[in-house]
Each structure stands twice: as C-alpha cells, then as structure tokens.
Symmetry: C2
Subunit: 204 residues, 2 copies
DNA sequence: TGACCACTGTACCGGCGGTCAAGTCGCGGG
DNA sequence: CCCGCGACTTGACCGCCGGTACAGTGGTCA
C-alpha cells in the first residue's frame, strides 16, 4: 500500500483493503475513520455517502490496473515485433508480476462489485460493466492481430478468447484466496499462456 | 428456487438469494425474517448467529453442486467409454446446463466467502478451502486417466489444469454478472473444452 | 398427560450509516 | 495583514441492524 498524500487517498487506501477482505457491506465507516484517524464528518466531507466511496474506489482501482496492463504489454511489444510472441511475453511478465506479490493478489474490486451488485447504484454497476468491456476490447485487438498472421487451430470466437484472459485472472484470484495458495493465480496465467500458444502456433 | 419444506430451509433459500446479490455483509437478518414471515427469535432458534447461517448456507450449496457435478459426469461416462471423450461430453453438458438457466448462474457462494473471508470464522473458511480442494481432486482424477492414454501436447501440471476447470467457472460467473450477459459463462466453458481437446488430442 | 419441538412476544443493548449545524485552523492571494 | 476557502473537528441526533435474554404458546407424539 502506497503512502497516502492526502486524507482522501488515505481513506481510499484503508477502504480498499477492508472491502477486499470483508466485502463492501462488511466494511464500516466507523472502522475506516478510526484507522484513518479522522472524524465521521471528515469522512462525509470527502464522500457524500458509501456509494460515492464505492465509485471513487472502483474508478481509482481501474485506472491503476489499466496503467499496469499498459505498461506490461507495451514492454512486451518492445521485446518482440511479432504479435503472438509479444503477447506470450506479456502474459509471462503478468504471471511473474502476480508471483512476486508477497501476500498474493489482494483481490479485484470488479469481482467484489459483481458479487454485491444490489448494494450499489446504477453508476457503479455501469462502471463495472465498462471495465470488463474495456478489457475485452483491449485483448480482442491483440488477438485479431495474432489471428491475422496465425490462423487459430480451432474454431473459436476471438471475443470469447479475449474474455478468457480476464476470466482466468478473476477465477485465479478466487481460487488463490479460497485455497490460501498464492501460487495458484500465476499458475493459471501460465496455463492460459499455454492455451494461447497451442491455439495459434502453426506447429509444435 | 425450490419450495421450502420447512422454515429452516425457507430461511436458507431467502438468505442464499440475498447473499448472492448483496454479499454476506449486505444481507440483514431483519430482511430475511420479514421475507420468511418469522420473528427474530425464530431465526435465532435455527441459527446461533450469522456465522452459523453462513456455515449452513455453504454446506448446503456444496452438497447440491457436488450432486449436480456427479450427475453430469456420470451421465457423460455412460455416453462414452473413453475418458477424454467422456470428459469433453461432460463439459458440453455442463455448458448446456449453464446456458439453460433463464437468469444466468445465480453465483457461487465459494467466491462470496473468498471475497469476504474476514467476515467468517475459521470453520467456514476451512469448509470453503476444502470445497476447492475437493473439486481439484475430482478433476485431477479424470485428467490423470486421460493423460495416461493421451499424453498432453504441452508440458503442463495436471493439478493446475484441474484448477483451471474450477477457475473457468468462477471467472465466467464474475464476468457474466459484471457485464450482464448470461451467455459468457457457457461460452467460457465451451472454450475450456476447446483447450482440453487441443491439449490431449493426438492430432487435429 | 406431559414432554418436546418449533416457534412467538417483548424488551433491551451497542454498533453502524447517515444527517445537521456550527466551529477551527492553516495557507495562499489581494 | 487579514480574508476567504478548503479541510477538516465537535457534538448531538435518528433509525436500522446484529445479537441477547427469557418467558410463553400451540401442535404432536409416546
């Protein structure tokens, strides 16, 4: 967790950690404010209500996650010109990043929102939906480039393959947390990489 | 949702639906008891506290899910003697079952628990962990049978492949819910089937 | 007949989400 | 130099929620 430069950021840091370990409904404002050493009125100065907190939390989370993905796959692009090989390198870098997290991945707020949808207003749910669609488009673009050069060995829908990238991460996080083994998530990403390679490689 | 034969089962039915749409922390006992038309004392007659409700909820969920998996893969066994083909049929049956759910998959309680772990006692967390390990063993057994006949085309760890089955379902549910498209989960299972086929088929 | 099961009724506690009005303190600009 | 503004604090209050305690009640079965 990064050092908070302002009380507002500190609230978001504390709230994010609490939401990921206890769920949104299980996170109390009283607990956040005592950890952040502010008063209840101080909290409501920054956020109109708990829903606005959720919105800010999710927005900040998506911005940082997308920045991380940009960084990884841009670096992979620099390392190899071929779209397939570059994507495989990107997945490897991603798996290594997940492996290097000392306590495992802290959890995805998109999954938290998806599993408590009736707790949030339409704005938060739309933001969540848009996040998945953005990731779908991101990976679909790469996969189309790959498929133009390497025709897939099986009759698959590329959009579904794009969703599989996101789905593997979401599923891997659930498994890792539930079983208490931080290695599960990186293993799943490596296995996904194996599928992508198998699907597009002309011969092995 | 099946008709409840007792107030206790009715409580569990209502609580399960609420937990899956609002999270455990977002589900109030007051709301459950008014929907079940009983008093607060009536609730606490059946469950000592909210944690005992969680335990009963999870146990019942796991029992029914395992019965469904038994049924599907037993039927698939009857349809084809070869372990690979039988497993591929099982995955197809599973995808079709998910596709036929009118409002999509209602959600997995294992994921809910994993994303609110600090809300539950050790007993519930152990139950959750055991559920993942049971599924791991279930699928690992089948995969070992398959690999004995069809050597995998890529150097993969079969336990990781077994986890991928569970992970695809968990990830697919998160995606389906977040994006509001019920088709995503069955599509992901069909894609997983494509990988299993590609991984073990001697030639295409 | 009476014990037990599945509840109900009533009263209470402290925590939590949220609201409201007024006050404080530092700091940057006119 | 002081004025205003942003970032809070103080403190009082509301109704819902999780949970406790315990006495009571109607049906059923040995």
């Amino acid at each position: 967790m990064a050092k908070a430069q302002s009380k507002r950021e500190l609230i978001l840091d504390i709230a994010e950690a609490s939401v990921l370990s206890k769920g949104f409904g299980g996170t109390s404002i009283d607990e956040i404010i005592s950890a952040a050493d502010i008063t209840k009125s101080g909290f409501f100065y920054h956020f109109r209500d708990k829903n606005q907190l959720a919105r800010a939390l999710l927005q900040r989370y998506l911005d940082t996650e997308n920045a991380i993905l940009d960084d990884i796959f841009d670096r992979a692009r620099d390392l190899h010109g071929d779209p397939l090989h570059s994507f495989l390198i990107g997945l490897k870098l991603f798996a290594e990043l997940m492996e290097d997290l000392p306590n495992g991945h802290p959890g995805c707020l998109v999954a938290t929102v998806a599993y408590s949808e009736r707790m949030f207003d339409q704005e938060v749910r739309d933001l969540n939906r848009q996040a998945i669609l953005t990731w779908r488009e991101r990976f679909l673009g790469v996969l189309k480039e790959i498929a133009a050069i390497y025709p897939p060995r099986d009759d698959v829908d590329l959009m579904t393959v794009a969703d599989m990238i996101t789905g593997t991460v979401e599923g891997g996080i659930v498994l890792s947390r539930a079983v208490g083994e931080t290695a599960v998530l990186p293993q799943q990403i490596v296995l996904l990489r194996s599928y992508i390679r198998l699907l597009f490689s002309p011969a092995l």
